[in-house]
């Protein structure tokens, strides 16, 4: 399955499904340059995979879900998070936004993960389908409004 990614304008978040890495959920705020984010997030999967494969061998069980900063680009910082079932979360934020600490990103991921779990618990959700959950939407919107500072 793939990952879900959420992008916010300056920040995007995405959830991707575990195996084929197709996007389950992509949200980007604002949506103008969405294509660019798609490319960025897609590329970040390489790094995610690399991190998983190296960390996975050492401690498969107690692996930290939060992968930290995947890589910085000129304008954005890309953060990753992988659940035990290999669902990947990616958040891209504006690199000029210095107010976001690692802890904040981590809590954002945690919220995203909880929300994703809720979606999965929905009996009407067919695993593998793109997520179209309103709860998810408001949650992600909440993420950005929490931190208006780093949102445009």
């Amino acid at each position: 399955m793939e990952i879900c990614k959420v992008f916010f304008h300056l920040s995007v978040s995405v959830i991707l499904s575990p195996l084929q890495n197709y996007p389950l959920y992509i949200r980007s705020v604002p949506s103008q340059s969405e294509l660019k984010f798609h490319y960025t997030v897609h590329t970040s999967l390489d790094v995610v995979e690399e991190k998983i494969s190296t960390a996975g061998k050492a401690m498969a069980e107690q692996r930290e879900l939060y992968l930290g900063l995947l890589y910085p680009t000129e304008d954005y910082k890309v953060y990753g998070y992988v659940t035990n079932s290999k669902v990947k979360f990616v958040i891209v934020v504006d690199s000029s936004n210095t107010s976001l600490r690692d802890n904040e990103i981590r809590s954002m991921f945690r919220k995203l993960h909880n929300s994703f779990t809720d979606v999965m618990c929905n009996p009407f959700y067919n695993p593998g389908d793109p997520i179209q959950s309103r709860a998810m939407f408001t949650m992600v919107s909440g993420l950005k409004s929490d931190k208006c500072g780093w949102l445009v």
């Binding site: 084929q20 890495n21 490319y39 897609h42 590329t43 995979e49 494969s53």
Partner: protein, 1462 residues
């Protein structure tokens, strides 16, 4: 990563080679020109030395020089300026395309199989369905490396075009060859001249270029001898002279051109120049552009005019020794100019035509000699000199040296401080500066592959330069130090990557010299790659991308992408991303093919992974690039992909895609206008849902006339309905064929869809239209406009009238006509309807109906649809332009039949049957019937009789016969009996008349008529489902119409009824293809409640005795009382005011109503809403004399009118409907249940015969079989008009005492009847039931109602009572009469306790069939009172049967007698 053909070491060595210049005399040039080559060109293939060279370093150590290459160029060869370089490089790149047709290189990276380069364009396009298969096939091949030859070409050209710079000496000339021909009059003089010339060029200061390595350049004197043309003796002697003068190591005699004339055509000579020529031509851009123009299809004229030969000469740098008199030395350019202008695109003329293999060897020998005897010793000497200089200077020591610099170098220091940053980059050392000497020595060492020494020198130089802040020099030294560190064999020190990084940074940021930075990066990346440091290499390469050169950025990004994919865990997605970036830069740089290739490669990663936005973008770009590269097929395919998939793009984006697609498509289809039309992707056609209809479009109702509904595309397919129609048709066909249905009978299908069975070719009739309904779906958010939409067909004419299947004509198709937009061109054969415009809204599914009208018989195949696809522009101003924006294309209708699943083979494999719905056979003309209904109601009261008219019109040109109609509800309608006069009264005239035939008669006894059911077309017990409609002469001629009346009777049940009529007809002459035709009509009748009639028959207890004789006679044979309860159950109080019971008739074979014995006074009983009335009648058996043999089959109709008008019930329509009434007790059941019923009936036949006969006798006794017809009138107010409606209700009385109802009772709990295949066991109790037996004997007590008796006088009162027994049955009955009170019953004690029967208390009698017997009894009373005399118990049994079935007679109703005491 791109794999190079060379190893890294080779590559770096080849990047820095000793440079040798050539000065050539005119004559010598002429000699070489015979071979179409200049002297440097002549040498070029042989410039790599195959043997090892040796030299000694300053420490007297032997250095082995392996695989040395030298570069020989004309002295005036100048490095092109930056603009030219740029052009040159881009040409080199575009000229080098991935080879077509070679096996693709596949790299397996993780889950991805990437097909790199080569056929990637084809293989990676997403719609390339079996790409995966191909990839797996290819990946098993041996090619695992991805090559990027364009990058190598670029790199090579780039390095060669590097201008010589001051801070390094690597590409400065080390030596100069002076070439003189032996034919020269005085060669030595010529040598002198050339030598002076060389000196002038190097030292006069006139020329800034070329640059020379060392002041005393090595001069090598070459005497060129043309064997074919010169005196060898003289040449030898001149050479001897030269040896004297220059020493054996400084001169050479080169003999060439041993072949005279051209080579024989059969002789195969290797042409080593051909592979170098393109490389040669980097100095002659024109040649490459020509190749390029062939490859890329660019406009040749542009290129040529751009690089006009004149321009080259004009732009000649005055800094070059481009002396016109020395035109020979610029022969390179001249020759290629000539070649380029004369033979563009032609095969280049052969080189070295005058050279034999021996000559080649000689040249090789010459180079070797020159290098080992001349060049290497020269270098060795210079290294020693420089080393000595440095060592001697070292005496003063480095420290002192630097100290003096500090003290005396004040000139430099303030300079630096003024404008430090600016000037450090531009800082120049004088050529003799000691720092430069080190560098020079390092370069020399490097060139002769003494990397160890080179490294230490570079290192030293670097330190010096750095301390001087001479950044450019420092960077150069750093770069070379790193390279030589890498190249050191033995125990190499780790490659100092940071040196390179610093160098690149310095070059780029401080010196702003991108060219040097790029060279540095290229070298470093190559080194890093060789050490598997791919991510470092990628970073390096990506860093080098910048805005100033798109081509470089593109190439470097591509290389970076290749690095990503070569990492230990391949970063496929980064690869793809950088490929996209690279493709973007390529397209900016005008390298469209490379751009396309990059996008295609990236597509492999993105394809089918759900990244739709990215995928769409890539597809869009691929489409655009393909289009500009004139690969419209690929472009169309790419665009098609964007459009077909469920796109998440916005509407505007989609419309842009669509417009682009249309544009591309249009340009694609224009040239191939004559050929077959292309397939369009939009809108989606659901071919499986295609429906075909044969026949005319239904007419709407014309006034009162209502056309038969028939079949039309608007009707949804309904499996049940289809089944029903098929059954009806089968019935009517069976009747028409006298009971037999042909085995191959197939119900006629007018509308073919995915639900129907389409295995056979359907039949269509000539001159009758057929409609094809096509389902379109528009997946886009943009409305699509289809214009000129019509069908494509193929038609083979056949004349079926001839025997043996007729003659087959040629096949005609309208494809061409349709392509040209003239869809109507073949209208004389088949008229094709064209829909001018058809809009499919956004994301809409819409059907189009397309009509064909065949004019000839034959076989038709509908192939597909043809239309113009366009889109609607929003603004009106652009309407003109938008009109042009459409393309003509087709889509085929290919319908896959149902999957076969019968045989094992079919089950295991997936096979589909044929579907022939689009391939009709056009048959000769057939009659065509149209049916109209006039005054056909939509609502009726239950049982209401209405007269309507039906009109049959034969609209064909062929007579029609055998008209029949079948219906699911035969009781609903009648055309009247044969006896009824069919005088065609016009419908309007009959409007307000009663539907019935009436006679004015006062109410009296029943009028009786005897009627045979055969007169009403009824035979047997079955209701006729098929009715033949009589035609005058049996034929309805062409164009004729027939109007006949039609009576309708409202269904007995309320609610909405669908009544199906199937009209069957056939042509006069039997058509082999189409035996008959049918017309369907479905009427919907809403029945509302009218009256509910319940009737009960009772055996009358009156016994013969009184009355007239004939009456008695009648009664003797039996009489009944019939009670008829009529209730107005109509619910619409407003509409129906009241019901009048006009008449009650009976119809039966045995019984008839005799008399109305209603006590009520009013004869015309009215029933207002919810009122209930009761009527009582006496019924008698029909007279026996009437019951002749055939009268058994005849029905007696008896009419008892309550008003003054008698309705003759024995005529149409009353009797018709009577005979058509449904069997009341047996609800209509489905076919399955009938089967069960049949089985049961059969199983019953072999039952016990005695029991059976007994039962039947007993049953018969209580059977009645009397049908009551209640005729009523309803007064209805409708639209302020009072209407009188009439109707009739039927009640079938079957058993005495059982109530029958006009409404067939709701079948309670209609459980599922199990289908039983085992015959039921015959019911064990086949004896007549008690109840049945009780009807055997009728008893009646005759006694005075009251009896006066003076009890005081006489205490006992005796009353005579007659008990009359009447045997109702047709068998002998034994009767036992028991007068004893049943003492056991307490209740009887109570009631009867006070009287006793006198005399015999038990009688045994035997009654003959239908005998009446009176029995006199006496009752004795003791006191006055009211007594019930009904205590005698009567037992009856059939005489033949044993004692077993004695049973009690009915307990008689109380017979009360009043005993008065007087």
């Amino acid at each position: 990563m791109a794999q190079c053909a060379q190893s890294v070491q080779e590559f770096i060595q080849d990047s820095f080679v000793p440079m040798v210049s050539v000065l050539c005399s005119e004559d010598a040039e002429r000699v070489t020109r015979k071979n179409n080559l200049s002297f440097p060109e002549l040498l070029r293939p042989f410039c790599r030395l195959t043997s090892e060279g040796h030299l000694r370093d300053p420490n007297n150590q032997v250095v082995v020089v392996k695989g040395l290459r030298i570069s020989v160029t004309g002295v005036n060869t100048r490095s092109p300026n930056s603009g030219e370089v740029r052009k040159l490089l881009s040409q080199a790149v575009s000229g080098c395309q991935p080879p077509e047709g070679l096996p693709a290189n596949v790299i397996t990276a993780g889950d991805y199989d990437l097909n790199i380069s080569d056929r990637s364009v084809k293989a990676s396009v997403p719609w390339y369905s079996d790409w995966k298969e191909m990839l797996t096939q290819l990946s098993s091949s041996k090619y695992y490396t991805a090559t990027t030859p364009w990058f190598e070409a670029y790199r090579e050209n780039f390095l060669q075009s590097m201008p010589a710079s001051d801070h390094e000496f690597l590409n400065h000339y080390l030596a100069c060859m002076l070439v003189v021909s032996s034919r020269e009059a005085v060669p030595t003089e010529q040598f002198l001249k050339l030598s002076q010339e060389q000196h002038r060029i190097q030292h006069s200061g006139e020329y800034t270029y070329p640059k020379w390595f060392i002041p005393n350049t090595l001069k090598y004197y070459v005497l060129l001898h043309d064997i074919s043309d010169g005196d060898e003796q003289r040449a030898d002697s001149v050479y001897e002279d030269m040896k004297q003068r220059y020493g054996t190591q400084g001169c050479y005699l080169l003999k060439i051109n041993s072949r005279t004339g051209a080579a024989g055509p059969d002789e195969q000579m290797p042409d080593p120049w051909s592979q170098y020529l393109q490389k040669t031509n980097i100095h002659s851009p024109l040649y490459i552009t020509i190749i390029f123009s062939e490859v890329d299809g660019l406009d040749l004229s542009d290129v040529v005019s751009e690089i006009h030969p004149l321009k080259l000469e004009q732009s000649a740098d005055p800094g070059f020794p481009g002396n016109p008199s020395k035109a020979v030395n610029s022969a390179d350019t001249a020759r290629t100019q000539k070649q380029g202008s004369v033979t563009p695109g032609a095969a280049p003329t052969a080189h070295g035509a005058c050279l034999t293999l021996n000559d080649h060897d000689r040249i090789r020998q010459f180079i070797q000699e020159f290098t080992f005897r001349g060049l290497l010793p020269h270098i060795e000497k210079n290294i020693r000199q420089l080393n000595d200089q440095l060592v001697s200077r070292k005496g003063l020591s480095r420290s002192l040296f630097s100290a003096t610099k500090k003290w005396f170098g004040g000139g430099k220091v303030p300079e630096k401080s003024i404008a430090e940053l600016k000037n450090t980059a531009g800082l120049l050392y004088p050529p003799e500066a000691p720092e430069l000497q080190i560098r020079k020595m390092a370069d020399l060492c490097f060139l002769v592959q003494h990397y160890e020494l080179a490294y230490s020198c570079y290192h030293t130089a670097k330190k010096d330069f750095l301390s001087d802040q001479a950044m450019l020099y420092a960077a150069g030294s750093l770069e070379m130090a790193a390279v030589s560190a890498f190249l050191q064999s033995g125990a190499p020190r780790p490659y100092p990557a940071h040196y390179m990084e610093t160098a690149i940074q310095t070059y780029r940021d401080v010196c702003k010299n991108m060219v040097l930075a790029e060279r540095c990066a290229l070298l470093s990346a190559e080194v890093l790659k060789s050490q598997a440091k791919y991510s470092d290499a990628a970073t390096l390469l990506i860093k080098m991308t910048s805005e100033d050169s798109d081509l470089r950025s593109a190439l470097l990004l591509e290389q970076a992408a290749h690095c990503f994919i070569n990492m230990r865990s391949p970063m496929v997605r980064k690869f793809a991303f950088h490929m996209i970036l690279s493709g973007h830069r390529y397209s900016k740089a005008g390298q469209k093919r490379h751009a396309l290739r990059c996008y295609c490669q990236a597509m492999q990663v993105y394809k089918g992974k759900g990244w739709t936005l990215a995928e769409d973008h890539i597809n869009f770009t691929i489409g655009r690039q393909s289009f500009t590269l004139r690969q419209p097929e690929n472009a169309v395919a790419a665009f098609r992909h964007i459009l077909i998939n469920d796109s998440k793009q916005t509407a505007t984006q989609q419309s842009a895609f669509l417009r682009e697609y249309l544009y591309v498509y249009k340009s694609l289809s224009q040239p191939s206008n004559e050929g077959s039309l292309p397939q369009l992707p939009l809108p989606c056609v659901h071919s499986a849902q295609t429906r075909v209809f044969f026949g005319h479009e239904p007419r709407l109702a014309e006034g009162e006339k209502q056309a038969a509904t028939h079949v039309w595309l608007d009707q949804e397919f309904d499996q049940e309905q289809a089944q029903l129609w098929a059954e009806l048709e089968e019935q009517v066909v069976a009747v028409a064929n006298r009971g037999s249905v042909h085995i191959s009978f197939q119900p006629t299908q007018y509308c073919l869809s995915s639900h129907t069975e389409n295995l056979r070719y359907p039949f269509a009739v000539v001159e009758e239209p057929m409609f094809v309904e096509v389902v379109f779906r528009n997946p886009l958010k943009v409305p699509l406009v289809l214009s000129d939409l019509s069908l494509l067909w193929k038609f083979t004419t056949k004349d079926f009238s001839k025997p043996q299947g007729g003659t087959t004509g040629e096949t005609i198709t309208n494809e061409k006509e349709a392509a040209a937009g003239k869809a109507t061109a073949l209208n004389d054969i088949i008229s094709t309807e064209v829909i001018p415009e058809f809009t499919v809204g956004l994301e809409e599914t819409k059907v189009a109906r397309l009509k064909l009208l065949p004019h000839k018989t034959g076989e038709l195949h509908v192939l597909g649809i043809v239309y113009n696809l366009g889109t609607r522009e929003e603004d009106n101003s652009a309407s003109e332009a938008s009109q042009l924006m459409f393309v003509r294309g087709r889509q085929d209708l290919e319908i896959q039949g149902p999957r076969l699943n019968v045989t094992k083979e079919e089950k295991t494999s997936v096979r589909h049957g044929p579907d022939r719905r689009l391939d009709p056979i056009i048959t000769p003309p057939m009659p065509l019937l149209e049916v109209f209904f006039i005054n056909f109601p939509t609502g009726l009261l239950c049982g209401e009789i209405r007269k309507a008219w039906v009109e049959f019109v034969n609209v064909s040109a062929v007579p029609l016969a055998g008209l029949r109609v079948a219906s699911t509800h035969p009781e609903f309608f009648t055309f009247g009996s044969a006896t009824a006069d069919l005088t065609p009264v016009t419908p309007t005239a009959a409007e307000h008349c009663s539907a019935y035939k009436t006679m004015v008669t006062p109410p009296s006894d029943a009028a009786v008529t005897l009627v045979s059911p055969a007169a009403f077309g009824i035979t047997g017990d079955n209701r006729p489902t098929v009715v033949e409609i009589p035609l005058t002469g049996g034929v309805l001629g062409p164009g004729e119409a027939l109007q006949i009346p039609l009576w309708l009777r409202g269904p007995d049940r309320e609610g909405v009824h669908e009544i199906s009529f199937l009209f069957y007809y056939e042509g006069l002459e039997k058509n082999a293809k189409l035996g008959h035709r049918v017309l369907r009509h479905k009427a919907v009748i809403c029945a509302s409640r009218s009256l509910s009639v319940r009737a009960t028959a009772c055996r009358s207890n009156t016994l013969p005795g009184r009355g007239k004789r004939d009456e008695r006679e009648e009664e003797r044979s039996g009489s009944m009382l019939v009670f008829v309860d009529v209730e107005n159950i109509n619910t619409s109080e407003a509409g129906v005011r009241e019901f009048h019971i006009v008449q009650v008739s009976s119809s039966s074979r045995q019984w008839r109503l005799h008399k109305c014995i209603n006590p009520a006074g009013d004869k015309d009983s009215k029933l207002a809403s919810r009122e209930r009335g009761k009527l009582c009648f006496r019924a008698t058996r029909c007279r026996t004399q009437e019951a002749t043999s055939d009268a058994l089959e005849k029905y007696t109709f008896a009419d008892l009118n309550l008003g003054n008008e008698q309705i003759v019930s024995s005529t149409t329509p009353c009797a018709d409907f009577f005979f058509r009434r449904g069997p009341p007790s047996e609800p209509r059941k489905g076919g399955v249940i009938t089967v069960g019923g049949l089985l049961r009936r059969q199983s019953l036949t072999p039952a016990n015969s005695t029991d059976d006969s007994m039962t039947s006798i007993v049953r018969k006794c209580s059977e009645v079989e009397l049908d009551i017809i209640v005729l009523w009138k309803a007064y209805v107010v409708e639209d302020n008009k009072q209407l009188i409606l009439e109707g009739q209700l039927h009640v079938a009385l079957q058993t005495i005492g059982k109530e029958a109802c006009s409404l067939s009772q709701k079948e309670e709990a209609q459980e599922m009847v199990l289908l039983k295949f085992k015959p039921d066991l015959p019911p064990p109790a086949s004896r007549p039931s008690l109840e049945q037996l009780s009807h055997l004997i009728k008893t009646c007590l005759h006694y005075p109602e009251s009896y006066d008796h003076p009890f005081p006088q006489k205490s006992l009162c005796m009353v005579p009572v007659t008990l009359t027994l009447s045997n109702c049955s047709l068998a002998q009955v034994d009767v036992i009469i028991d007068l004893r009170h049943k003492t056991t019953s307490p209740e009887s004690l109570e009631v009867h306790g006070s009287f006793t029967w006198l005399g015999q208390t038990q009688y045994k009698l035997q009654l003959r069939p239908q005998e009446v017997h009176g029995l006199s009894l006496k009752a004795c009373f003791f006191q006055a009172g009211v007594y019930n005399l009904g205590t005698p118990r009567v037992f009856a049994k059939l005489a033949q049967s044993g004692t077993m079935c004695e049973t009690s007679q009915q307990s008689a109703m109380p017979a009360l007698i009043i005993i008065n005491s007087v």
